[in-house]
Symmetry: C2
Subunit: 112 residues, 2 copies
Amino acid sequence: MPTATRDLLPGTLEMLILQTLRGGALHGYAIAQHIQQTSQDVLQVEEGSLYPALQRLLRERWVTANWGISARNRKVRTYKLTPAGRKQLGREIAGFARLLEGIGRVMRPAES
Amino acid sequence: MPTATRDLLPGTLEMLILQTLRGGALHGYAIAQHIQQTSQDVLQVEEGSLYPALQRLLRERWVTANWGISARNRKVRTYKLTPAGRKQLGREIAGFARLLEGIGRVMRPAES
DNA sequence: CTACTATACATAGATTATCTTTGTAAAGAA
DNA sequence: TTCTTTACAAAGATAATCTATGTATAGTAG
């Protein structure tokens, strides 16, 4: 079965996670749910993509993590945006916008 | 030196090449130049990305290739969009637009 | 005549990101 | 007690891009 509808646009997951955490700290599973739901099921964050991405964000100190208990009474690791992470989010948004503009110029050459 | 400004948004190169060939057949090097120039130097197609991508497009029969001589009197391999390639371009544009909408909903949650 | 730059193709290898698969574990419902 | 959902995480496979390398020739500068 082809129809390989992509789950994500490669290179955007970290931006999506950081943006999600702007609204407040969340645990991993909830981050993935939020992205999927907010995107109206267009984006899906596989666990095998999510947790490595969170590890990268921790390594760069763009987020911090704490163990706790969720509203559903489950042991969870909650991630929180750091000031450096907030700056990084800004850079990622700018870089993404820049690339999108470039792509737009190639894809819509009719525009002035 | 960080500042790792990306050359491309991963997953978009084939779409950019197919779109470039909509305007007529071009040789590889000229495709890369066109993308770079049209994007106003935002996008840069490294040769190590370009030629493997062209091989993939050939394999899928989305383009055909012919050897010839360029306007600058160089031996060149010219690529031409096939009808299947044109259909694929449509699918890629639709898939990309879909992902962008999803990303937009996550990044701009304020919108209705 | 020589050196350099730009044009042009291509592959090999490294890196990175994502996806698939597998594993653990516990809460709550059937 | 079995199933589903929630929740974390690592291992391995796949895929796309980037870096480095190699070949070759046209044209220009010196």
